[in-house]
């Protein structure tokens, strides 16, 4: 089967410190991948580097989407090609309602005009599924949203923007059990045979109701172990100690 995202020997640094040290990862359509790892291993860096956040520098290696090297593309072009990232701490942007922002982003990503009526209709369904207060989407983007509302709003954006790959950077952190279930339901709604999900997490809760294809353990800038869903359970019980030793 063809590859959707391929990361080859990726090295990257932030503020002169090397964080990713030769990372390899291949994601095919229809797959759900999970990356787990201790604090500071480079999990969030990976998400940021894939989207070419200028705060990080790729020193070598390749990020290939649908066969095309996207190393040098600006973030918005990568987004248009179909990579979405759910942020750990979504920014608050006053002056534009969440609804108008979603509509605007949708038109930028799809390159097509968005019809308000249909868009509002589709959105309403997602908002209900995500147990969001419908009034939230009339409020300014993330402004005054609780932590949980912001995370749900990220999932809402994922559903609306329909990316090929969604990278969820600790979307479950700081959420209560019910909200994690809601996020998990959002992922299930999004998921189909042609797209893929990369979940970065510390926590097994979000994985419970999802079909997981691969679990990767990221330690010190490299993937040191790949397994199936059972690997996540193992880590939950035993922690990362033995993988850290492997590094040494």
């Amino acid at each position: 089967m063809k590859k959707l995202l391929e990361i080859k020997q990726l090295h990257a640094q932030a503020a002169d410190k090397e964080i990713l040290k030769g990372l390899n990862l291949t994601i095919k359509p229809g797959e759900v991948h999970v990356i787990m790892g201790p604090n500071g291993a480079g999990k969030s860096t990976l998400a940021n580097v894939i989207l070419n956040n200028p705060q990080y520098i790729k020193t070598s290696g390749e990020v290939i989407l649908d066969g095309e090297n996207i190393n040098e593309l600006p973030t918005n072009e990568i987004a248009k090609k179909g990579i979405f990232m759910s942020f750990q701490s979504p920014e608050e942007i006053p002056g534009i309602s969440t609804f108008n922002f979603l509509k605007y982003a949708k038109s930028k990503i799809s390159g097509e005009q968005v019809k308000s009526f249909k868009f509002r209709h589709d959105l309403k369904e997602y908002v209900e599924e995500l147990n969001m207060n419908p009034k939230l989407i009339e409020r300014n983007l993330n402004v005054g949203f609780s932590g949980g509302e912001k995370k749900k709003n990220e999932i809402l954006q994922m559903l609306v923007l329909e990316p090929k790959i969604a990278i969820l950077d600790e979307t479950d952190s700081g959420l209560d059990v019910d909200a994690i279930k809601t996020v998990s339901r959002g992922i299930s709604m999004y998921k189909n045979d042609s797209n893929a999900v990369l979940i970065i997490t510390h926590n097994n809760k979000i994985l419970e109701n999802l079909h997981i294809d691969y679990v990767h353990v990221l330690v010190d800038g490299k993937i040191v172990k790949t397994g199936d869903a059972s690997l996540a359970d193992e880590i939950e019980k035993e922690g990362y100690a033995k993988y850290k030793k492997v590094e040494e």
């Binding site: 987004a79 248009k80 920014e91 002056g95």
Partner: protein, 466 residues
Amino acid sequence: MAKTKVDDINRNIYDVVDKDNYEFKMQKGLNREIVEEISKRKNEPDWMLDIRLKALEMYNKLELPTWGPDLSELKMDEIATYVKPKANLNNSWDDVPEEIKNTFERLGIPEAERKSLAGVGAQYDSEVVYHSIKQELLDQGVIYTDMETAVREYPEIVKEHFMKCVPINDHKFVALHAAVWSGGSFVYVPKGVKLDVPLQSYFRLNSPESGQFEHTLIIVEEGASLHFIEGCSAPKYNKVNLHAGCVELYVKDNAYLRYSTIENWSKNMMNLNTKKALVGKNAQVDWVTGSFGSKVSMLYPMSILNGEGARTEYTGITFAGAGQDLDTGFKVVHNAPNTSSVVNSRSISKNGGACTYRALVRIAEQAKGSKCSVSCESLMLDGISRSDTIPVNDVETDDVEFSHEAKIGKISDKEIFYLMSRGLSEEDAKAMIVRGFAYPVSKELPVEYAVEMNNLINIELEGSIG
């Protein structure tokens, strides 16, 4: 209020230069003969000429301010203080000469008048060429006319108020204004009359190397209410133009006045304007100000809260680009008990532009139980732009609530990355962030100006991405 302008406004409409096709242009410079000539051409009563001549004397005595932006490029010898356009005052656009009418059409004034205004004044260079007000307001005793007509027809009211709120010795450019003033609007709202639709005066300066010195005098009687909008613009020339207008507002007991300004002068303009309001018991004046243009601005609207329970709010935004030094702010004097003031200021600077928020809060000893809350935030879009906050607070009683909050910041890389990850280009992302920053102010502007401001932000940001 209905939306009164279309979205596709761009900077070009301000920069269209009409031919300098005046009926009379005063020789450049400033002296007694020039002042007498202006007065004579206006057929003024002697008392007005006396004020002009006293003001000229004062102008010659007063020094330039020793603080604030550099004014050395302003040379009065190179400024024509009076330019009479080839048009008389009309109350029908059909009678306004074609070229001048077209200019105001481009600026959207007649359209706005049809859709959402109760009256309009339009000044071109030194004279008002159009003034009109809805009949039903006339029937209620509202007066809205140019200042020259007011001097002629309502001399007692003008004598009692003209240069009384702002004394001619206030500063050098007030004295200059009083000596050579021309045009402007006069508004009188009788007791208890409430206008629910705004009046708007628009000031257009076309003639190069000239000055505009319009005088706006507004009296809102007890329990009356008014929203007044002023707009101003000019095309760009290589030489300096001068704007030294004066606004005097009398807001009587229990009255309300909202004074909105969008200033869009070209970047060769020295904008040295003076605005002041006297506010009576339980009355309120709100200032909403957008300053985008001019090379140098020194503009600090002032509210004097003389009556118990008087209130004022200032909501202002300033946007300075390359070569612009915009020194703006707000002054408030609490002179009576239980008065309140709220200040919300935003400034944006880029490409080496400089924004200064300069403010005065004075709370007199007798103003017990008063409240003052100041918030000013600045955003710098790059490392070469400047932003300063210079507040002066003079509080003479302990029995007040006073808060001052100032923030100076840069545009956040995290916010840009977040928006770009949703498909927005860097320019779109920056514009969205800047609009968001301006939002607390732009939402207070009349709708068509808020749209215009957002468009200006887009235009101003184009090409500013390094």
